[in-house]
């Protein structure tokens, strides 16, 4: 039996590839609707090329070879003698699923960077604004500032403006000229250029102010303070004060590694400090019959996720991988590396913070508390600091803050963050926090 965790582009592509060869598989996903974070639609299809999602949705619904388990949160997994057991909660009921072959496509979520006021209502990730709009038909605010870095800011801005919000500005930290550093990646991915053009035209048509080299570095709840920053994100000078009720700030993505980490799949640190899984040319992880595809093997967007998912699906049933697929993967990986070059997240943001800025939102740990754990309590690493301050120990298990805590501590000590530390903060004992009652039941069963 083959189980695919995740119903985003990578998971759906894997399922389709497997089913096409007459082999059965099961797709299990936390959301109630398929599509993952990339493909969320309420009714009308909108956005660039999003209609292709429907082919995959139809397959999921109508192909008898594919079993689809939705609204099911996998919270832990074990592996004995090549048999993987996935424990999941569905509508409060604990269930489990066994398989010989597992394909993980657990995706990614927005990376957040703290700034004074980022905990205030109205401050959120672009992903939240997008999910509310596309998934629930709700426009998050009247006047919205979009800030951070990366191409994802554009569709969010366009979507919100088309839905009637006033987008007061898209503040992109980096200059588009950085793309000139990646001529080969661009030459091999001409369609990406057209995608960019599509959004550029829309932004112009909707009269959305597009600002490069500026970002929101403080938010009062009703005013966004915009600064001009250098490529390391250090503030060069404060520039504008803009009235808005929402600041959607996002700095690329963090892959969700929890499940593969629990199962012992090897992780590596990519050039920009993002922790990802190590996979071979068949998308196979270092552990037995576990394949991994999509963002968890490197942030690359939905095109790459679709190709990786298809390769993982084919490899999982020992089918030959066509050369064209491998070629397209290489092409898209070139583009993924160009994304890192074009939209880097330097350490300058650490100087945006003031003593009271919250670093850990859950446990309400401030910047000065984190710093004093290093200076006064002599915490040597983020682990010790977290024990002193409880940063990263709240309900989200450090998903939002743990990378930032490590980078602040390393910054204070003037050293780089060690790879071992990056890997340790990317893992957690449970893939999803669940109520203690369910946890106790799970242990009792064994």
């Amino acid at each position: 039996m083959i189980v695919i965790v995740g119903a985003g582009p990578a998971g759906l592509a894997a399922a389709k590839a497997i089913a096409r060869h007459g082999v059965s598989c099961t797709v299990i996903d936390a959301a109630s609707k398929p599509g993952g974070q990339y493909w969320r639609f309420r009714d009308l299809v909108q956005g660039y090329k999003s209609q292709r999602a429907y082919g995959y949705f139809d397959e999921l619904r109508s192909n008898p070879k594919i079993t689809y388990i939705n609204a099911a949160q996998v919270w832990s997994a074990t592996r004995t003698n090549d048999l993987v057991t996935l424990n999941y909660l569905q509508a409060g009921i604990e269930k489990s699923l066994k398989c010989q072959t597992l394909i993980l496509t657990t995706g990614a979520y927005d990376r957040s960077i703290p700034f004074p006021g980022w905990e205030k209502p109205g401050s959120m990730t672009p992903g939240a604004a997008q999910a509310l709009l596309k998934g629930h038909g709700v426009v998050v605010g009247k006047k919205i500032a979009i800030s951070g870095t990366g191409p994802f800011l554009l569709p969010v801005a366009v979507g919100l403006a088309e839905a009637g919000a006033e987008v007061v500005g898209v503040f992109e930290a980096h200059s588009p000229l950085r793309w000139l550093r990646s001529p080969i990646a661009l030459a091999f991915n001409p369609e990406k250029f057209f995608e960019l053009l599509y959004y550029a035209k829309k932004i112009k048509k909707l009269s959305i102010p597009m600002k490069f080299g500026k970002v929101v570095t403080e938010f009062s709840g009703s005013t966004a303070f915009v600064s001009r920053v250098n490529s390391e994100l250090s503030i060069k000078r404060s520039s504008d004060e803009i009235q808005c009720d929402v600041v959607a700030s996002g700095w690329g993505f963090v892959p969700d590694l929890s499940l593969g980490g629990i199962l012992g799949c090897k992780e590596i640190v990519s050039v920009d400090g993002t922790v990802i899984f190590s996979v071979d040319r068949n998308q196979q992880s270092t552990v037995g019959n576990i394949f991994i595809a999509g963002e968890a093997t490197g942030i690359g967007g939905s095109d790459l996720a679709l190709i990786e998912g298809e390769i993982a699906g084919l490899a999982s049933i020992n089918k030959r991988i066509p050369f064209t697929l491998r070629f397209h993967r290489a092409r898209k990986q070139l583009f993924a590396r160009a994304l890192i070059r074009s939209y880097p997240v330097g350490n300058g943001w650490q100087k945006w913070l003031d003593a009271k800025t919250l670093i850990c939102r859950c446990e309400e740990v401030s910047c000065s508390q984190v710093l004093s754990s290093v200076v006064e309590l002599k915490a040597e690493d983020s682990r010790t600091s977290k024990l002193f301050t409880r940063a990263g120990m709240g309900l989200c298990q450090g998903r939002v803050c743990s990378r930032n805590v490590s980078e602040i501590i390393a910054g204070a000590k003037g050293v780089p963050v060690a790879d071992t530390e990056r890997i340790s903060y990317s893992n957690r004992p449970l893939a999803a926090p669940i109520s203690l009652g369910s946890l106790a039941d799970g242990i009792g069963e064994k």
Partner: protein, 83 residues
């Protein structure tokens, strides 16, 4: 026409469209505070929108720590802010 679903939040009646999350339906009705934080008593609402950050947790029908950005509204649900 999508079906309207009625529920309560801190004892007051609200409604939303079938399929909407609790956080989305409340936000759409103008609610900008889902809870107050434990230590500082600061207001919080939706932040990540996809079940990662736990800023949006509420008590739903007496079950605490439910992520309101993920859970869909259901007829008659009693939703209460928690600290």
């Amino acid at each position: 026409m999508t079906r309207r679903i009625s529920f309560s939040f801190n004892g007051k009646p609200f409604s939303g469209e079938e399929g909407q999350s609790i956080a989305a339906a409340l936000l759409n009705s103008g609610v900008t505070e889902l809870r107050k934080t434990r230590f500082e008593g600061e207001p919080r609402t939706i932040f990540c929108g996809i079940g990662i950050c736990f800023d949006c947790v509420v008590t739903v029908n007496n079950v605490a720590n439910q992520r309101s950005c993920l859970i869909e509204i259901s007829e008659g649900a009693e939703i209460v802010s928690q600290q």
